[in-house]
């Protein structure tokens, strides 16, 4: 259970090697966090992440093979995680990014990205939602990109996947009302992770620890939440709505 002050006892990470996930676990790690389930593609990196989390003193850290681009196995993965005990928070952190030029010249790459970022996250999100309804409580966290809010020449393919998952996440939150479940959506521009191209580091680029803090803050409050990081993005989102 998430306790009265927002402390979490168990987390499921879909995309176990994600830098944002690691920062979030570091932020939420407390004497109360006793179970972390990392779902990701089997790799030495995944085991390494699990080892680092165990070193934080968390009692039970397990890994489950998970491929966001293979929705047929998602049921099995989500059931395995929830059958081991209540999951308080599910962080959907699986995603890939490619250069826009490569996506335009190789549409297969775009399909793969859409399958991982959108289809995979939607499939897993719906199944997690079903399990949350059964256990009567729980939160799902999606980190989406504002590229999905405003189509740009330079990012429209990636942006399309983000628009899909963002809309899905907000809608899932609405559908979970009254079930004890809720959805926290963190909309970012770019985050300093191993995937970030250093050339893309701009004024709206934030550290992953900022994302982790926003997630922790969302968990302390009640209900569905949408948070922009940095907060100034909310203003630019409003400007988008002004007719020109």
């Amino acid at each position: 259970m998430i306790d009265a002050l927002g402390n979490v006892q168990s987390i499921l990470v879909l995309g176990g090697t994600s830098d944002i996930a690691m920062a979030t676990i570091e932020r939420l790690a407390s004497a109360r966090l006793n179970r972390v389930v990392l779902a990701g593609r089997p790799s030495p990196t995944l085991e390494d992440v699990a080892q680092r989390i165990r070193a934080m003193g968390i009692a039970t850290v397990t890994t489950i093979p998970f491929d966001a681009a293979d929705p047929r196995r998602h049921s099995e993965v989500i059931d395995e995680a929830f059958d081991g005990g209540d999951i308080d928070v599910t962080l959907v952190a699986a995603g890939v990014g490619y250069e826009q030029q490569d996506l335009e010249t190789n549409p297969d790459l775009a399909v793969r990205m859409a399958t991982t970022n959108f289809v995979g996250a939607m499939s897993a999100g719906l199944r997690v939602g079903q399990r949350i309804r059964i256990q009567g409580h729980g939160a799902i966290v999606f980190v989406t990109n504002v590229a999905g809010r405003r189509p740009r020449r330079s990012t429209f393919v990636y942006g399309a996947t983000q628009a899909g998952i963002d809309n899905f996440a907000v809608g899932l939150g609405k559908s979970l009302r009254g079930s004890g479940g809720r959805v926290i959506v963190i909309r970012v521009d770019s985050v300093r992770t191993k995937l970030l191209n250093p050339a893309a580091d701009g004024p709206a680029t934030i550290d992953r620890t900022v994302v982790a803090s926003a997630i922790a803050d969302g968990l302390r409050r009640r209900g569905n939440r949408v948070t922009y990081l940095p907060a100034s993005l909310r203003t630019s989102n409003l400007l988008r709505r002004i007719p020109v």
Binding site: M1, I2, D3, A4, L5, G6, N7, Q9, S30, A31, R32, N34, D86, I134, Q135, G136, H137, G178, S179, G180, R182, R220, R221, R222
Partner: protein, 457 residues
């Protein structure tokens, strides 16, 4: 009748994460047994009137049983005037029970600070009143308890026979040993629903605690309110109140005719509006100053209705929104008499600017009862309520937990929403014994709650 009331979201009465359960109203013992035979893996827990501030009466994804019909009807109460006892269905609230009892000149021997809870809930959380020093908890006055165990069998448990272990495991057992259906307990004769209250203010914490240490008449209701926003030089100042049940002849003539009438509750409600914005250092300081100055330094005496004085929580029960959207967190600790430093430490944390708290009370506790999960041990009880949005509140309370533990004290599980599961065994050293008895009463683990899951009870 088996009323399936559908699903409902349950918060604690204060701040907590939301969880949703299927609510089922059951009005007979047979239906409880039937329900238990069909309960799914997420189990069930009985909910009284939802007074627990934490998650003791919630069961996310499972079933929450509410007693109805004859199991919650004050008309089914029976009073034995010869033995001074009453049998009360467990779903009856203390409010309804007291109205029936007072009508015939009887009163409960122990009065917690709210009478909105049910008799079953009062027993399952082993409630105490401000007369604990002389009267113990409500369970101390119980002669028998009827409970449906995990196998659907109706058991009669008594503190003085072979079922004593199960009786005491169910007292303070948080509804995890069975569904309490009725209780037989001693009642005391009264001639009025009024108390004679002597209040006196003291300028600092040692003086307040000294006053509480003074000998008081038997069956006095003694407690202190502490001003958490007091200036540094008057740290821990407060008002000590001593009350005794008044005889009808002491009342003014005009009051004597309705002397046994119980007053209304919850006269002030802020549920429809949020006055957190008005709660700042200045307003809390002013309110506390007024409350402190209202008591005389030389001591004053007045007659007050029981509902105003003994059930003090009821007049502010609807004020939880005062603490903002995130509500508040209750924290009640019990510590040995010689560890007043721990009280000072907890109050110091509240004294910081921005940590306004309207509720802080201290009282002395007497001899404990044999219940393994009973909160009340001999020493001090400190009951605090903090706004949940204080920055770093979790870390601060964790530190207080450590001090309470080091002092040999404990934290009240019935009011908890946040303690670390690792500390439970240390706060409650008899927990393994309680688990063993619970396992005999509920071998298949049908009774569970959010609290039980959170703390791995």
């Amino acid at each position: 009748m088996n009323l399936d009331a559908g699903v409902a979201p349950f918060l604690g009465s204060r701040s907590s994460e939301l969880s949703v359960a299927r609510v089922i109203e059951l009005d007979s013992i047979a239906l409880i047994g039937d329900r238990l035979s069909r309960v799914a893996s997420r189990g069930l827990v009985t909910r009284g009137n939802g007074c627990a501030p934490g998650d003791a009466a919630r069961n996310g994804g499972g079933e929450v049983v509410i007693l109805g019909g004859s199991l919650a009807s004050a008309q089914r109460m029976t009073i034995n005037v010869d033995s001074h006892t009453a049998i009360i269905p467990a779903g009856v609230t203390l409010d309804a029970a007291l109205r029936t009892l007072l009508h015939q000149g009887w009163f409960l021997p122990v009065s917690p600070d709210t009478r909105q809870m049910t008799i079953g809930g009062a027993l399952a959380t082993d409630v105490a009143g401000t007369n604990h020093l002389s009267r113990g908890t409500l369970a101390t006055h119980v002669n028998a308890m009827w409970i449906v165990n995990g196998q659907g069998e109706l058991l009669t448990l008594r503190p003085g026979d072979a079922t004593a272990d199960m009786f005491w495991a169910s007292v303070g057992g948080l509804g995890l040993t069975g569904v309490i259906t009725a209780v037989e307990l001693s009642v005391i004769p009264v001639t009025s629903a009024w108390v004679d209250v002597a209040s006196r203010r003291y300028g600092n914490l040692p003086d307040v605690l000294d006053a509480l240490m003074q000998p008081h008449a038997a069956n006095s209701y003694v407690s202190a309110w502490i001003d958490t926003a007091a200036p540094t030089k008057a740290f821990g100042r407060g008002v000590v109140s001593t009350a005794r049940l008044a005889h009808v002849s002491e009342l003014p003539h005009i009051r004597q005719r309705d002397a046994l009438e119980l007053g209304a509750v919850g006269r002030v409600s802020t549920n429809r509006w949020n006055i957190r914005s008005a709660m700042n250092n200045w307003t809390v300081r002013a309110l506390n100053e007024a409350r402190f100055r209202a008591a005389s330094p030389a001591g004053g005496q007045e007659l007050r209705p029981i509902s105003d004085h003994l059930h003090s929580r009821d007049s502010t029960a609807s004020l939880s929104r005062t603490y903002g959207k995130r509500g508040s967190v209750r924290y009640q600790m019990c510590i040995p008499l010689d560890r007043i430093d721990v009280i000072a430490e907890a109050l110091l944390l509240l004294a910081e600017p921005g940590r306004q708290c309207l509720w802080a009370s201290v009282q002395r506790l007497g001899h404990p009862n044999p219940a393994p999960l009973s909160f009340a041990q001999e020493g001090w009880s400190v009951d605090l309520e903090y706004p949940a949005d204080i920055p770093e509140l979790g870390r601060i309370l964790d530190d207080v937990d450590e001090s309470v533990l080091a002092a040999g004290g404990r934290v009240n599980l019935a009011k908890d929403g946040r303690i670390r599961p690792q500390l439970i065994d240390q706060f409650y050293p008899q927990l393994p014994r309680w688990r063993a008895i619970r396992n005999t009463m509920d071998p298949h683990g049908k009774f569970t709650s959010d609290l039980a899951r959170r703390l791995a009870l």
